[in-house]
């Protein structure tokens, strides 16, 4: 896999420059709350990628957890008016 990557860097029409990768890595870094606090120059690309994976995984876990609670809450409340109130409060 890594040989394929180095090959595409040396030859091939769509050369991936290091600048482009660095740009995207900084963009990712800004989105991840843990890495945003540190000053940008010192964080390596592999650390950014690993933190990204961890962050996405924790977000997935939160979605699972929240949908669990939501499904329980949906069962316990019946009124349609509560939902209308939510819709109104969130969209306006």
């Amino acid at each position: 896999m890594s040989s394929r990557r180095s090959r595409s860097r040396q030859s091939g029409a769509s050369r991936i420059t290091d600048d482009q990768i660095a740009d995207l890595v900084t963009k990712l870094q800004q989105l991840i709350p843990e890495l945003r606090r540190r000053r940008s120059d010192k964080v390596s690309a592999s650390k950014v990628l690993q933190e990204t994976c961890n962050y996405i995984r924790s977000l997935h876990r939160e979605v699972d957890d929240l949908s669990d609670r939501l499904s329980e809450l949906l069962e316990s409340t019946d009124s349609d008016s509560a939902q209308a109130a939510i819709i109104r409060s969130l969209l306006m």
């Binding site: 963009k27 949906l74 819709i87 969130l90």
Partner: protein
């Protein structure tokens, strides 16, 4: 706020509004289905709970993907997975890869080779990322990063919306 706010076409509202709108619509639909079948709720309640949890989760991902539409590769991949009824499979496969990662990361730490360790970590992280982002397996590196950034943005908004709803309900 004035009712003029609602006359803006859906595509021009912010992503958060679109996410909220679609998710709430999906929840309302779920709720209507539930109240329709409320008579047979006493038997097999555990299975029903599991099914409801699963449906809410699917509704979350489906509404997120449809709010973004076809503008992004990850949302296109998610939508096609939903249409082919493969979303369930993807969710399970994703969770399984998470469990494996725990074991392999401990091995990587034990190796402690500084020169090689960083490239091995990069490669592993690449593969992990491809599994986590929907449609990530067929993307090249640049678009993978790009899609990841957008995916994270939308996921964070979706999580915030769900948290708001849960907080509102549980007052």
């Amino acid at each position: 706020m004035s009712p003029q706010h609602m006359n803006i076409p859906l595509s021009r509202r912010s992503i958060r509004t679109r996410l909220a709108y679609r998710f709430l619509r999906a929840l309302k639909k779920l709720n209507r289905q539930r109240t329709g079948a409320v008579t047979s709720s006493t038997s097999s309640s555990i299975r029903d709970t599991c099914r409801r949890y699963h449906m809410v989760k699917m509704a979350a991902y489906a509404s997120m993907a449809s709010a973004v539409g076809s503008k992004r590769a990850w949302s296109r991949a998610l939508l096609s997975k939903i249409r082919n009824r493969g979303l369930n499979r993807w969710l399970v496969k994703r969770n399984k890869s998470r469990a494996l990662r725990g074991r392999s990361s401990s091995n990587a730490v034990a190796k402690e080779n500084p020169s090689k360790g960083s490239t091995v970590g990069l490669e592993e992280a690449h593969q992990e990322l491809r599994k986590l982002v929907p449609g990530g397996e067929v993307m090249d590196v640049l678009s993978l990063f790009d899609e990841t950034a957008h995916y994270i943005k939308c996921l964070t908004s979706q999580v915030q919306i769900m948290r708001n709803i849960v907080d509102f309900y549980s007052d």
